[in-house]
Symmetry: C2
């Protein structure tokens, strides 16, 4: 096997631990200089591939590569740009081939969610389309936990831990204040899958503990049933703690939140299920209601990462390089659960066909019959994913994160207009 360079891209929404995967990729690649030359990190996700904008990670000090393990965000920049099918945009694919050939890239790592895995799978066809062969390996990542063929998605556990901890903490606050504040709502990310909202349910251990109501996209929302449950909970407990997915849907399957179409990306930028529910509670029940919208805070909160999640994110990064070295292409390191308690797992290659553009939703048996809480089966699945702490170093009271040099690799081609 001739020595080739590697390409690494962060793609889609970032997480508290995607840089731990980057750390795994970079550290392992450095231990195989006989096969892997430089790792070129794409600037701003897959835009960098077309723009030929790469950071030369060989210019980074090992201590700062190591610091990526505890640094949130996406150190090299990410984006939601996905590759088109070669048949649709042959000019784009010609460019891809030229860029990767010009930089002698033989290994491509795309670190992302199910859309990014689809893009990664397409790249296995690069040789067929352009004559330049690459091994394309996906590296799983998403706070949404909706990737198929893996026990969980790196990024999920840390956000889940942050949310469940926040719900437990805020439950004590509201419990103290319920002479006035009767209802508290936390809006949680998740356009289609309710995994993160379900994880909030871990905060409740004893009867009466919050959260008292979980609202997920998988269960159609019924205002009257919801209001009755709030009323009943306030009567029994004195207050009511609610976690709601941003992607909550009404009886007709429409998003409950106000919608805002993003013209650029074709996505709907959600947000608003929480505030809208709070209005409903105030108007219909005449109760004082507080609402928090964690938004990006929940996926950036590296200060409260799950140690399990950090270890898995790092492990899939390392394993991806191992699969490349073993000659594989079109695969993703998937996490396999061997046992629940103790939580034992290993990493195996899984075919990207089984992951690309698919969404793994929580099974119905994870949600209680009334739709408002989690079952014991859900606890068994979710608990190990938030286990363990992995605090970043602090300096002057604030977390101290990686500081990279960001040296751009020299361009070898003329500019290209996307």
């Amino acid at each position: 096997m001739a020595k080739k360079n590697a390409f690494y891209a962060q793609s889609g929404g970032v997480t508290a631990v995607i840089n731990a995967s980057a750390c795994g990729v970079l550290e392992r690649a450095r231990t195989h200089p006989e096969k892997i030359g430089k790792v070129l990190a794409s600037k701003d996700g897959l835009f960098g591939l077309l723009r030929e904008e790469f950071y030369d990670t060989s210019q980074e000090h090992p201590s700062q590569i190591a610091a990526l393990r505890h640094t949130p965000g996406g150190a090299f920049g990410s984006s939601r740009y996905m590759l088109p099918r070669p048949e649709k945009e042959p000019v784009v694919w010609q460019r891809l081939g030229e860029v990767l050939r010009a930089h002698n890239v033989g290994y491509v790592f795309v670190n992302g969610g199910n859309g990014s895995m689809d893009t990664c799978m397409l790249l296995t066809r690069l040789e067929e389309v352009t004559g330049w062969p690459v091994q394309a390996i996906g590296v799983p990542k998403t706070i949404d936990n909706d990737l198929a063929m893996t026990d969980c998605s790196p990024g999920f556990g840390s956000t889940a831990k942050y949310l469940a901890t926040s719900i437990r903490e805020v439950s004590l606050d509201v419990d103290a204040m319920d002479e006035s504040t009767k209802v508290f709502i936390l809006e949680v990310m998740g356009r289609h899958a309710g995994w993160l909202t379900l994880a909030c349910g871990l905060a409740a251990e004893d009867p009466g503990d919050g959260p008292h109501i979980l609202l997920v996209p998988e269960v159609r929302f019924d205002e009257q049933r919801f209001l009755a449950k709030v009323r009943e909970t306030v009567a029994q407990v004195g207050h009511c703690i609610i976690a709601v997915s941003e992607g909550l849907r009404d009886g007709e399957g429409r998003f409950y939140a106000e919608q805002q179409k993003s013209e650029t990306y074709g996505f709907e930028q959600l947000g608003g299920a929480g505030p809208r529910l709070a209005e409903l509670v105030r108007n219909e029940l005449k109760m004082k209601c507080h609402c928090a919208v964690a938004d990006y805070l929940q996926r950036a909160a590296r200060h409260l990462a799950s140690r399990t999640d950090v270890e898995q994110a790092y492990a899939v990064g390392r394993a991806a390089v191992g699969m490349a070295l073993a000659g594989m292409t079109g695969v993703m390191p998937g996490i396999v659960r061997i046992s629940d308690d103790p939580y034992v797992w290993r990493v195996d290659p899984v075919p990207l066909e089984g992951v690309a553009d698919l969404e793994k939703l929580p099974p119905r048996e994870f949600i209680s019959e009334d739709g408002f809480s989690i079952t014991a089966a859900a606890r068994t699945y979710l608990s190990p994913l938030i286990a363990g702490e992995d605090y970043p170093p602090f300096h002057n009271g604030l977390p101290s994160f990686a500081r990279l040099n960001y040296v751009m690799a020299e361009k070898k081609l003329p500019p290209f207009k996307i």
Copy 2:
């Protein structure tokens, strides 16, 4: 000095460390059984005093009293109920005297903010009004940091640390995503004082670091100046991170947020400055904008408390008991700053007259000339307050908090209608 019981109440909005003050009061009181009998903890703030609803803290195990030090919320319940002047409601005052006499209470500790310190000061007149003498000692607490005659208010440092950390983390996220998301807004608590929003400024260390714009109630908001600054920042940095106080005011001094009058408590329940700004940015600048509203999460986030803050909260609780034992009344333990770096402080008694119902606002020299950032003087003041970490114990991935027995003290009087 005859042995008397003590009364302890948590009053006003709770914090991540008010229970650390409770811990200080209870632990110190237990070391003086020759002078202090039981500490009766009021249920639901000052409501408990009128309702004669007290928890008998002598029924709590020392390990759980110790665990209060790392437990957020208000363990005994709080409320915004404040005592009326004796002249206005003589019946209420007659009740106060009867309740405190019936339980042989000689020491009263009110743990709260400036409104609660006013209530505490009134209690120094109890003997004059009812013939039953008590020593009334305030214990400072508020995330708003607006208490006078103390270097800072216990509760502030932890919320400040949480917010500045969150801003630093989310800045990395947005930096990675700024091919699409250009603006991020964090709405921060603070009706009248911008202290917490200013503390967010600590997250920025190098040029280009977020936050790029702070909006505080002390600086009248000007939409056009704000939009120009956002546009300029996005052009220079690629994105713009903003922290805004819920109590932001427009050019005429009115709250920028939508208002919602709370009929019960006479307060305005704010919330909405962040979402309203996000709308403005989307409409006027046509930029993708995310907005987080931390709401109660920020004052409950014990998982990221400032060690300095925890130590101060505990110290003022202990000192309050010391002042009671020394025969004082009408005082509050105030924190005195002896030096900035290293941060050295001590606790001295200060008269409640100097604290009650007053608001300490940030001095103008803490805010940059353009009103959008903090000065070096502000950093010098703020930095030590968020210094150090003090993680709670975790169990199964979640923080483990105090579990009290909550044994009610026997009532000795007929019910009273407030």
